[in-house]
């Protein structure tokens, strides 16, 4: 178990030092976006990896988290700290209801259901103008300042916000790690491997599915809240299908079923569209081709293929 821990520690050290090495606002901006997407990818990874169910509607939780956090701030003055927690809770509650609705569904039926929920929420955000200002969106969602006496940390600045995101990503990664190595995690896998057998030894598959969905949706909700207070403006586009698809691509393309995969995927699939700017307007079309390429030729995700190339690196789902 030593090598992955050492690798993780190294990455963490690098991440901590990142703003010092790359102080350019553009690089920080990219890193923050990567972090937000990493949270989304981790939540997809949890759901897909441990229940085998694919959700193409996680933008629903992301959007709910974003709107909850923003509305609490704009209407009630609740700063990001409260907004973040309530976004997590709110998305978790939504996740609970989605799990109950979608539990009996399998495969593509589940996928369509998740897409449908995101679309309905988008329409609600578009039409409930009194609450959400509709297509105009919500603006001036500020990040707070913390006054510690000797210094003031202004989270409207990129560097502090970067560390905030980093903290959240690390927490999510630890959560993922703990779940994987627990009875709970093993129960999820058992359900996926053989649901009937799992039930016969006392595993309540419904309860476990609900738990996974709630954890998954809560993390996405946190991502939404962090996004809102960073870009300070949100509109119904936070429910966009593209966000859900991107998150899935990151989870799968990074390394399906691994712990580092979602983070790697977030890095890759946030940077690739940037590198594609050379193609100008054809940028997203090329991106789509790359997506197709990876889905077809690298279905197990980058990490799996990298591990084949790098000799000696263990590859068994950690």
């Amino acid at each position: 178990m030593k090598r992955p821990h050492a690798a993780a520690a190294l990455c963490l050290a690098g991440a901590l030092a990142y703003p010092i090495l790359f102080a350019d606002p553009y690089f920080l901006h990219m890193a923050i976006l990567i972090g937000i997407y990493a949270l989304l990818a981790i939540s997809i990874n949890l759901l897909l990896g441990y229940t085998g169910q694919l959700s193409l509607g996680h933008a629903a939780f992301f959007g709910v988290g974003a709107y909850l956090s923003s509305l609490l701030y704009l209407n009630l003055g609740v700063p990001i700290w409260g907004g973040l927690i309530l976004a997590v809770v709110g998305s978790g509650v939504l996740g609970f209801f989605v799990a109950r609705l979608a539990f009996k569904l399998r495969g593509a039926y589940f996928v369509i259901m998740t897409i449908g929920i995101a679309e309905v929420l988008k329409l609600v955000a578009l039409n409930w103008v009194d609450l959400t200002k509709g297509p105009m969106g919500l603006t001036d969602i500020a990040a707070p300042q913390i006054n510690l006496g000797f210094i003031t940390i202004d989270f409207a600045q990129k560097v502090p916000y970067y560390y905030l995101i980093l903290l959240c990503v690390v927490l999510a990664a630890i959560l993922q790690h703990r779940l994987v190595n627990s009875t709970l995690g093993r129960s999820f896998i058992a359900i996926r491997e053989n649901e009937d057998l799992a039930e016969s030894v006392g595993i309540d598959s419904f309860k476990y599915l609900v738990i996974v969905v709630i954890v998954s949706s809560s993390i996405s909700g946190a991502a939404g809240s962090l996004y809102a207070h960073y870009v300070s403006f949100i509109d119904p586009g936070v429910f966009a299908f593209f966000i859900s698809v991107n998150a899935v691509m990151m989870a799968i393309g990074g390394g399906q079923g691994t712990q580092a995969g979602p983070i790697l995927g977030a890095i890759l699939f946030t940077l690739i569209p940037e590198w594609l700017r050379v193609f100008g307007d054809a940028r997203m079309a090329v991106y789509a081709l790359i997506v197709i390429f990876i889905v077809i030729f690298m279905p197990k995700g980058m990490l799996y293929y990298l591990a084949q190339i790098i000799p000696g690196k263990k590859n068994d789902g950690r």
Binding site: R106, G116, D281, M284, A285, A288, L289, V295, I296, P299
Partner: protein
């Protein structure tokens, strides 16, 4: 609506229902296409909506830009999309035949993303509208109003539904398709060339989606993302109607059209597109296999 007599209110209601049936007819076409592809080929075709979108755009190019006669433009648009569908089936779906359903599904999502962006490059993201050459005068029949374009929609939809049904029921190809749907192994043992059936199914499905696009294009605006919503509605129709069920897709399409129309009229027009999903969610809660479906596993 307050001051109307109840008879007039009834007429208005019937009008909405009729309007809904008309749009629903076009919905049925895209639904049939998807249910065939999904049921026979087991492909979760997330690019189906883009066939619809391309149908509308080709009509725009042929008719509004190149001045080709309207009906001919429709036919050409449908044929063009069928050709594209053929290329996609042979180029992408065939090589992926042995791969998992998820891989195919995600590839189709990538494909749909690709096509949306190509459409943006070719036709620009600015929404276009197709001016139907049919007269804008409304015809009245028994107190109900009909726009010629809508008459065209319902007639064309009816025609295509009947033709497709006859194709499935009477022709050799249709019987082969149905055999493949019921039992793939048995069908191939009987000597049916599965590859050809798949090709045919996909092209047919693409054609129906494109037809839907040419019919609804002049009614709604045309822009590169209309495929998204069309796709989702198609899936709603397929699930509600039951996977692989021809008449289920027809019924669900009409149902969706009517509910959308009534919802827009009596509840709120903004949530019109949500009607389908709400219906879907409600039905899936009660019957995870859809209204008419058998226990069809998609995994």
């Amino acid at each position: 609506m307050e001051g109307l007599h109840s008879k007039q209110r009834n007429m208005v209601f019937i009008q909405y229902v009729i309007n809904g049936l008309i749009i629903g007819g076009a919905y049925a076409l895209i639904g049939i296409g998807l249910t065939l592809i999904l049921g026979i080929m087991k492909v979760v075709n997330f690019a189906h909506g883009e066939m619809y979108m391309l149908g509308a755009y080709f009509l725009f190019t042929f008719f509004s830009k190149m001045g080709i006669p309207f009906l001919l433009s429709m036919v050409l648009a449908i044929l063009a999309v069928m050709g594209i569908g053929f290329v996609f089936e042979k180029g992408i779906l065939k090589p992926l035949r042995r791969r998992s359903i998820d891989t195919v599904m995600l590839s189709m999502i990538g494909l749909s993303l690709f096509m949306q962006n190509i459409a943006m490059l070719i036709w620009t993201p600015v929404p276009e509208s197709i001016q139907s050459p049919l007269p804008m005068t409304t015809y009245t029949l028994g107190g109900l109003y009909f726009l010629p374009q809508r008459i065209l929609v319902i007639c064309a939809a009816l025609l295509l539904v009947v033709l497709t049904h006859l194709l499935l029921k009477r022709t050799k190809v249709g019987k082969a398709m149905r055999a493949t749907f019921q039992d793939l192994e048995a069908a191939s043992l009987m000597g049916i060339k599965i590859d050809r059936i798949y090709s045919f199914t996909f092209v047919l499905g693409a054609g129906l989606a494109a037809a839907s696009g040419t019919l609804l294009g002049p009614i709604f605006t045309v822009h590169p993302y209309i495929g998204n919503l069309a796709n989702l509605k198609a899936f709603v129709i397929v699930i509600i109607g039951g996977l692989g069920s021809f008449w289920g897709a027809v019924a669900a399409g009409l149902l969706l059209g009517v509910f959308e129309s009534l919802g827009a009229a009596y509840v709120s027009s903004g949530y019109q597109d949500a009607v389908g999903f709400i219906l879907l969610i409600l039905i899936l809660i009660k019957r995870p296999t859809g209204l008419f479906g058998k226990v069809g596993q998609m995994r």
